[in-house]
């Protein structure tokens, strides 16, 4: 069966009564698009703060003489990299420069394999580099944290268990009740924001353990 998902339409249907509405047209101080935007922020917190969405990608094939490779879409952070199923040691540009004065031009000899990986830090983390530069075509398998697809319409879904729905709904309610309006309830918003860290800690203890 495919990975179970939760629909945004189900979540927003439960949010309307809690915002004193019955449907989108009766929402007084907010729009469905605003609620959806806050839900997306909650998804981003789950992805980055609780490290829930890990994927393994094997689509990268190294090329002789090419050091850096584009990372998969919606990549947040690389956890592990393996060249031809051999784990690579995590590194960074500073360490590589300290290791080898000619780090930029170091090339694997015949039968040699890269030993380290690093992420390019210029701009967005869109590339992964290996050292030394590979001289063969092999699979570079990357285990990474990925941002799930955001909610774009009421038909959107998120690949989360039902128990995590409350985090997203509480996040939306906290933002909605703190939004500037005659109907704001900042004390409720403050309470819901306080709960977030507790839940993120629970999620980290179950799914985001150090690897």
């Amino acid at each position: 069966m495919p990975e179970p998902t939760i629909a945004w339409s189900e979540m927003v249907g439960e949010l309307y009564p809690r915002l004193h509405a019955t449907n989108e047209s009766t929402l007084r101080w907010w729009t469905e698009a605003q609620l959806r935007q806050w839900a997306n922020e909650a998804l981003q917190q789950l992805a980055r703060g609780a490290t829930l969405f890990a994927r393994r990608d094997t689509s990268i094939t190294t090329v002789n003489g090419t050091r850096t490779y584009a990372l998969p879409a919606r990549h947040i952070a690389t956890i592990h990299a393996a060249y031809d199923d051999r784990p690579l040691e995590p590194s960074d540009r500073l360490s590589l420069d300290a290791l080898d004065v000619a780090a930029d031009s170091a090339l694997c000899g015949a039968g040699e394999a890269p030993t380290r990986w690093y992420e390019e830090t210029l701009g967005v983390h869109a590339h992964i580099g290996v050292f030394p530069t590979p001289s063969a075509a092999e699979t570079l398998a990357v285990i990474f944290l990925q941002q799930p697809d955001l909610f774009t319409s009421t038909a959107s879904t998120a690949p989360i268990p039902r128990v995590l729905k409350a985090f997203i709904e509480d996040y939306v309610l906290a933002e909605a009740w703190s939004a500037d309006s005659d109907f704001s309830m900042p004390e409720l918003a403050a309470h819901l924001r306080q709960k977030r860290e507790m839940y993120l800690n629970v999620y980290r203890s179950y799914w985001g353990r150090k690897q």
Binding site: M1, P2, E3, P4, E14, P17, R18, L19, H20, T51, L52, F53, A54, R55, R56, I79, H80, A82, D84, D85, R86, P87, A141, I143, L145, P159, I160, P161, R162, V163, K165, A166, E169, L173, M185, E187, L188, H191, M198, N201, V202, S205, Y206, W207, G208, R209, K210, Q211
Partner: protein
């Protein structure tokens, strides 16, 4: 308690019966559907904080394959408790453990001895068995959605009153002011109930040498029995 009984207890505490005095599908401030959503969320959060719901299932392992999407195979899967193949238990491992122990662990043949879980869904088995086999998984699960009045929550019956407390917390929030204060009290009581159950589950899982324990929760309210 059934859903109807929990709903009745919630309505009694909310004091929000329909103006006619006759139980109706919706009350003045709260819809019945809203109350049902509250009860479902209560059970889901209780199960998450305590990991009190246990289930068992199997995953078919393919020859030479290391990684699996475990949520695709097991209904309601949350966290692993015990994994085994033909009765032989697999030890939990981290990426750094596997890097240190095996030269090419994603493609190493042998009798499976370890597993790792990364995130919600990515499960790895190391080494990988030649030929197909079956992985038996005991796992903590999320509860089934309650839909009718005759449904009974899956969490232990002695904690069903905690669902009433959470439902009150959920429903009273939107009225703000003094109702929010009352709601937060109910939230604290719910957390105390969950912490007590989690302590029991933790002791039970330790005795069974399960791989994942319920999270530690700090609570403001201590239950009477906890002070003994």
């Amino acid at each position: 308690m059934t859903v109807s009984e929990i709903y009745a207890a919630v309505r009694l505490a909310l004091d929000d019966a329909a103006a006619s005095g006759v139980p109706a599908s919706d009350d003045v401030y709260y819809l019945q559907a809203e109350a049902l959503a509250a009860i479902n969320e209560a059970q889901q959060q209780f199960a998450l904080l305590t990991l009190c719901l246990e289930a068992s299932g199997t995953v078919s392992l393919t020859s030479g394959t290391c990684f699996y999407s475990i949520r695709d195979s097991l209904t309601g899967y949350l966290v692993p408790l015990r994994l085994s193949i033909s009765g032989a238990r697999l030890e939990p491992a981290r990426l750094t453990d596997l890097d240190a122990r095996y030269f090419t662990w994603p493609a190493t043949s042998g009798t499976p001895a370890r597993y790792l879980q990364i995130g919600l869904n990515l499960l790895g088995i190391v080494p990988q068995q030649s030929g197909s086999s079956t992985l038996t998984v005991i796992y903590a699960k999320e509860p089934v959605v309650l839909t009718t009045g005759t449904d009974t929550p899956e969490i232990p019956a002695e904690y069903h009153p905690a669902l009433v407390k959470y439902a009150l917390y959920y429903l009273l929030q939107k009225r703000g002011g003094q109702y929010l204060s009352l709601a937060v009290e109910k939230w604290d009581e719910f957390l105390a109930d969950a912490a007590q159950c989690a302590e029991y589950v933790r002791a039970r899982y330790r005795a069974r040498k399960y791989d994942t324990l319920p999270a530690e929760i700090s609570v403001k309210v201590q239950k009477e029995a906890a002070r003994a």
